[in-house]
């Protein structure tokens, strides 16, 4: 026997999520290598992509759009779909780190820039390489802290 409430969830192609994470990791690496001055435009582009994914939904995330239009037509149908809620949460966390990085770059706090983008890169790499679920780790901890 098994009990749970069934609700309709939006589903996404997990390969698209890995693709989005890979593009994100590449841009964050570029931003880090270029540094807080030359890398700022790259970081702003990624911050906008995070913003679209977190606020408007994954279908509006530009790298996700790129996957659907350019990559997916060359692949077969996905074996399984995943709910869109967890990656959208991850996009929101990414947005928070990218914004902190932008503030660091603009204010000349280079340590803040490097720390925020370095952490965002760890998350993007875990996502791209290991299908890591950021929401699984952070969401419950956040709720526990807020409930105190």
């Amino acid at each position: 026997m098994s009990h749970t409430a069934t609700v309709a969830v939006r589903l996404v192609d997990p390969r698209g999520l890995r693709f989005v994470a890979s593009v994100t990791a590449a841009l964050l690496i570029a931003a880090l290598l270029l540094g807080p001055v030359a890398g700022l435009p790259v970081l702003i582009v990624q911050a906008l992509a995070f913003g679209a994914g977190a606020l408007a939904g994954l279908s509006y995330q530009p790298w996700s759009w790129l996957f659907r239009t350019a990559v997916r037509p060359r692949l077969g149908a996905p074996a399984e779909l995943e709910p869109a809620g967890p990656p959208r949460f991850a996009q929101a966390v990414g947005l928070a780190f990218a914004v902190v990085g932008v503030i660091g770059a603009l204010a000349g706090w280079t340590t803040l820039f490097y720390a925020a983008i370095g952490l965002a890169l760890v998350a993007a790499l875990l996502n791209a390489l290991f299908n890591f679920c950021l929401g699984c780790e952070l969401y419950l901890l956040g709720k526990r802290v807020l409930a105190r």
Binding site: L34, P87, L140, L141, R144
Partner: protein, 141 residues
Amino acid sequence: MTGLWIVLAAVAVALSFGGYRALTDGRARAVRVDDGSPRLDADQLGEPLGRAATFVQFSATVCAPCRATHKLLAEVTGEQPSVGHVDIDAEHRLDLVERFGITRTPTVLVLDAGGAVRHRIVGAARRDEVVDALAAVAPAA
């Protein structure tokens, strides 16, 4: 130059943490049981316990492997009517989350017939680990 070191450090952290998780996630860890061990009953759960054993799964809406774990446990319990499966939305049961020290989702507690926690599975559960844990808790099920 700083950027390059940050990139290398991030790659090293991601590979080691991700590799560690890939090795350890979804394994059943036995929990030592004594008279003072925490127990769960039907009242606290809001669902009846299984006659032989019960899987208590903690899930969240932002957790993709929770669905896979739910499906696996539903399959296993579907074959064994004496084994229960309760899927809890963790954010609505922070009392249980605190009491059992749940830090992330999915976490599955394997209860014996008396409601004592005998195994704990953190991360997406693996089928062989689930089957072994169940066999240890409820040999007759």
